[in-house]
Symmetry: C2
């Protein structure tokens, strides 16, 4: 089968995400990935210089697609107060986490591996910056919809929110306490909402 290289790369990235989600980063071997993609072994080094390059590409993809898609849920229901709106969005994320924990786990594994690789090198290339921007836009939207404005820089609040989403994830992965995770989501909603003021 003759396939454009770009398409091959995309298929390999998708297969990589599927394997990491199913078997973890340790199970993401070259053979497992090409088997998942239904490709011969050699196709990997034809499309990517090395397995590490493929894993890096997979992290970029998950940053672009999965994360943004997941966090797009946060703007789902805009009906009540600002705090209730935020709480509903964060609760939706917790539901997604509980329903598909391996996906979030896979993302964390890829991110941690990448962060180790550049611990001694230059600081991060700002891969999270896109997440911050997306969450910041959602915060703006939620404030506008409920007639508030933010008293603190929105990008800063967004970073706090992204951090806490990560924390909710790792903590739930450790204790599987659904109710506590939702409580932490409400805690975060209140903490963020405290930085808004009713528009005059």
């Amino acid at each position: 089968m003759r396939i454009p290289v770009a398409e091959r790369r995309a298929a390999l990235v998708a297969a990589t995400l599927a394997v990491v989600e199913r078997d973890g980063l340790g199970g993401a071997s070259a053979r497992a990935i090409v088997a998942e993609a239904g490709m011969p072994l050699g196709a990997l080094h034809y499309a990517f210089p090395s397995l590490d390059h493929l894993l890096a590409a997979a992290l970029d993809a998950v940053t672009d697609q999965e994360r943004l898609a997941a966090e797009a849920l946060l703007g789902a229901g805009v009906d009540g107060s600002l705090e209730a709106t935020l709480a509903a969005g964060l609760d939706a994320y917790v539901s997604l986490l509980i329903a598909r924990p391996a996906r979030e786990l896979a993302y964390l594994e890829l991110m941690l591996q990448a962060s180790r690789d550049r611990l001694d090198r230059e600081p991060g290339t700002g891969r999270y910056a896109r997440s911050y921007a997306v969450v910041a836009a959602l915060l703006e939207e939620a404030a506008a919809a409920t007639g508030h404005r933010w008293a603190s820089p929105v990008l800063e609040l967004a970073r706090h929110a992204v951090a806490m989403l990560d924390g909710i994830t790792t903590t739930w992965l450790a204790d599987h306490d659904d109710a506590a995770a939702r409580a932490t989501a409400r805690f975060l909603a209140a903490a963020v909402a405290a930085h808004a003021q009713k528009e005059g």
Copy 2:
């Protein structure tokens, strides 16, 4: 050299933590660990049934020692208001993270690996429960020292704090933004302090 089995196990656990911190979970092979411990290869399976058992023991150890030691810093400076006290403690954690990121990274890698192993099995054995209890005790102490009492269940607040500490960690690992991490620590301090009320 004849060494009691318990002492051998402890040395292997310490060596495992050193290797994971230096080379990551992927570099934590049986040979790398025994080399770090200055032991022959066979010693590992003499002290532990398998490498996985050793990694599990290492996670238990880090939960008991490193984490608690790190978080004991949180109660360091008790001088100003409650919020300032909490902020100082959390800022101390951020300093520790920036100074020794590989240690926190190693802890997260071990925790995530363990959480994947029991994704399809019984829920977590409550390994984080000890962290919650320690942080809860520190919160109680900080409130008492500044004449406050907690309006929400302390254990619940502690879980939120632990979650957010994890989030601060993963987020800083991703973007290496020192100032932003400290800002998130202050955000958390304010959010937690909001759940306290001055004692009458």
